[in-house]
Amino acid sequence: MRTYKLGPQLKLEKAFPILVQASRDLGIHLEDQCTIPLDGIFFKAYQGSNAKGLCLGVMFETFPSLETLHECRKAITGIQGREYQDIFLYMPQTETGLVGVSHAIELIQGVYSKMPKVTLVLYNFLENETGTAVMLDTRSVNADGSLAKLLDGREPGEVCDASLPFSSGKPVPSARPIRLTREELSDFIDMGLELRGLLS
């Protein structure tokens, strides 16, 4: 097991047990982990295996920006010699801020549209530090316990907002979400792609 300590780790270390718990819920055996610096934002990555085979997990300590999502996709694509059967992205639900959960999912799905193995896990360590992960995309889940109850009756690939059962009832600071439509988000994703093309 490798651990690289590159910068402030407090929030990440606090959140990491949640990743471990969530990974177990997903039937993943952790094999390797590291911390990756990316444009000043640190995220933790693990490599493990589940019933399907090799899998990769990436955990963000803050909700990633559109630019960071693109960078992460580039980094994942650039990993050579590995055929991951599942890729899990862990993001803090409480920091989605004004985006709103369902629109965050649309944003991420827009960026990762050509990577069907990606599953998004929103965790919520600000409101619930007990290690409960909220699974929102059931595409590649083979879970049991509370997670299975949440996912019961869902079709693979269906997005379900399962955040309510875990809410502590405390108001989130940015309580009034400004929801963006799929078309609006799509326009901004296109703008980001165009800008990346201009700068590259």
Partner: protein, 267 residues
Amino acid sequence: MRPLERKLKRGLQDVSGIFRAKNSAPDPVLLSNESDPKTVAVVNPGNFGDTLFLNSYLASLTAACGHSSAVISIGQAKKGDGRGSHRFSNSRRLAVPHVSILWDEFEMLCAKPLSLHRADQPGYPMVFVNTEYAHSSKVSKIAPILNKCILAVSPTVDSLLEAYRFIKGLHVYNQNLQYYLLFEGTTAGETGCILFERFAAILSRHLGINLVWLGHLNPLYSGSDDPELELEPLFHKDFSSTESPSGIALGQLIASLLNEYPTAAAS
């Protein structure tokens, strides 16, 4: 008269000042006058740190263009806040009056704006409103009195995404608001122009809002006339906006407070 001659002869220079030649005389019909008071908010969506500086800086530049301006901060009560000289901050270094009022005072003003509105009481034609724009509950109270909103953002997609969310939220409370955009930091060049065009197109398509370009804001520039900024569009008369009695009252409130405490304001 031939049909062709009946068409309106309308060029780009009639649509916006940015297409007008630098040496051409400004159209006096389009310029606002002192009897046309405006309330302006300068916001930095996604990073609502020091909006007082942004408001004061833009107000000082506006004043340098010959439009007397003032800044009013609306906020929570702090220790030592109250009547008198505590109302005046040290934004005099930017050569504009700055007055602070509390939220309850603002709400009283909105409830009875005409009590302060006197024909013989001159106000400030440009009032920059500084408050906690990150809180939606505050925005819902402020938005109806605003005429113009200047978005100061970084030339990145993420900043523009935050700006879009902010505008979408504000649009619910005030659909007559005129929006302006400026990029903070060093000149973004062609990339900045492309970003502005794309962002303006998204705003127009989804929200029906026309965005006006103000250029680049360089906070390190210490002169009174920032060469990267194009402030002239800010003074154009917007025929779609309506004057808010509360907005007029804010300008008069600042003037009356400065008259009431001239020593504090001048010191």
